[in-house]
């Protein structure tokens, strides 16, 4: 496996590989998301308690799940970058972090908008929303640290260490926030506690989950390609590539 992986430690090979993947990822993401969202918005039945407002779930839940998933991916990239000193992994940190931050923002925003009709307030110190907010802070910290250094190599390594520190902290933060929330019994959120979803609502949700996964991969692909070009701008293959 290492022999197979080795060429992708170099910029150009990775760039070409990602270039081959990108159109397929983009196309399948657009297609899957179109099917999932239209199904969810138009064809899924309304919820017996929340009416049609529950349809926000088709973006809220995938965004929330992948905002955490991308953080894990970023931490894995950081580990690879720090242990094996693979530059592609360093650049992957920079490529993944903004995508994760946008997903976190989407999860937060849709959560707030969903909270208004359901809880009667735009912001509730609900455990899930709170830990999502802290996750956004962690992402912003990684992005800020990466760009703070004039030497991008140092920046990538520093951001990698921070991502690893964060990934140790994420479960602690998560459980502390849950525990804090159950301690301070705030507004009743019983409207969210419902039995398992009906299949007719679940299938579009699963399609949306797949669509968000593909979309996240496509975004990371695009940004990683850009990062490779930026870092190897002085190489002749980059100049040829950009001249086209």
């Amino acid at each position: 496996m290492w022999r197979w992986l080795h060429p992708y430690a170099k910029g150009e090979a990775t760039y070409r590989l990602l270039g081959r993947w990108l159109p397929w990822l983009t196309g399948s993401a657009v297609l899957t998301l179109a099917v999932g969202l239209i199904w969810g918005l138009l064809y899924a039945p309304p919820d017996y308690q929340q009416g049609d407002s529950y349809r926000i779930i088709y973006i809220h839940v995938p965004a929330a799940i992948f905002s955490m998933g991308t953080y894990t991916a970023m931490a894995i990239a950081a580990l690879i970058a720090l242990v094996w000193q693979i530059r592609t992994a360093e650049w992957a940190i920079a490529a993944i972090a903004p995508v994760g931050a946008v997903l976190t923002f989407i999860a937060l925003f849709t959560g707030a908008v969903w909270g208004k009709p359901m809880w009667g307030t735009w912001w509730e110190w609900d455990a899930r929303l709170t830990s999502e907010l802290i996750l956004l802070f962690l992402y912003l910290g990684v992005i800020a640290l990466y760009h703070a250094f004039s030497d991008s190599r140092t920046g990538a390594k520093a951001a990698g260490i921070l991502a690893l520190v964060g990934v140790v902290n994420v479960p602690i933060i998560h459980y502390s926030v849950y525990w804090w929330n159950s301690l301070h019994q705030g507004a009743t959120i019983t409207k969210f506690e419902k039995p398992s979803m009906a299949t007719s609502m679940l299938i579009p949700l699963l399609i949306c989950l797949l669509g968000f996964a593909l979309m996240t991969a496509a975004f990371v692909c695009q940004r990683l390609r850009n990062e490779i070009l930026r870092q190897e701008l002085h190489r002749s293959w980059v100049q040829q590539e950009l001249d086209q």
């Binding site: 910290g141 140092t154 520093a158 602690i172 525990w179």
Partner: protein, 227 residues
């Protein structure tokens, strides 16, 4: 390198750090003055009634402790970085995490411990009911080492940047949150007479975990920064 000489080196380093810090006393005193001033702003802002003040006292004291930890954090490795002794430290035959732990300990001695000693005064100013005092002291005693360790990670990461101040707070404050939650909950529990053993044990666990892992992260960050 045997164990005795490792310990001797660590001791020399700690003595040096203490000596340097004690020559610049204002760096130690200023954060404490900051804490007292911020604490005395709260009664002016929310009114001096003991019902409101007593309820928010523990939270206010903890938040000011977090802010005070940020205040001097930039300086933690700055001077050593500028005069090159940080680079020398990475070349010593002692494992870097051990030195990092020593640094953290000295930092706690100079910033965390004074804060703990100051607690009766701040608790008095904020009219914290007496039932909460011992728990507040205990949480600060367990929590301030965690603050020092996390601060050291952030300071080591940003030491090679000229102006790390605002960035440092952005990196560190999210990491402080579990500490704040557990500590504030413990004092709150103590005020209503509930058992606080659970929270205190959690805090102790958090301290052990942080003090085990943070030196590794600090060592990694120092290596990146001096490179």
């Amino acid at each position: 390198m045997n164990r005795a000489s490792t310990w001797a080196l660590v001791k020399i380093l700690m003595r040096r750090d203490l000596k340097v810090a004690l020559r610049r006393r204002s760096d130690i005193v200023n954060p404490l003055l900051f804490v007292i001033m911020v604490v005395s702003l709260f009664p002016l802002a929310v009114g001096p009634g003991p019902d409101v003040l007593g309820r928010i006292a523990a939270g206010v004291i903890w938040v000011t402790a977090l802010l005070a930890a940020l205040l001097g954090s930039e300086r933690l490795f700055r001077d050593d970085y500028l005069d090159g002794s940080l680079e020398q430290m990475t070349l010593l035959p002692v494992p870097l995490p051990v030195l990092a732990l020593a640094k953290i300990f000295v930092h706690w001695l100079l910033s965390g411990l004074p804060l703990v000693i100051l607690t009766p005064l701040t608790a008095l100013l904020l009219k914290l009911p007496v039932e909460g005092w011992s728990t507040l002291l205990l949480t600060l005693l367990l929590g301030t080492p965690v603050l020092s360790a996390l601060t050291a990670i952030g300071a080591a990461l940003t030491v090679s940047l000229g102006r790390g101040g605002a960035l440092l707070s952005l990196l560190l404050l999210p990491l402080f949150i579990p500490l704040l939650i557990f500590a504030a909950a413990a004092v709150e529990g103590a005020l209503v007479g509930a058992p606080v053993v659970g929270q205190v044990v959690l805090l102790a666990g958090l301290m052990v975990l942080t003090l085990t892992l943070a030196p590794l992260a600090v060592a990694g960050a120092i290596r990146v920064s001096v490179n």
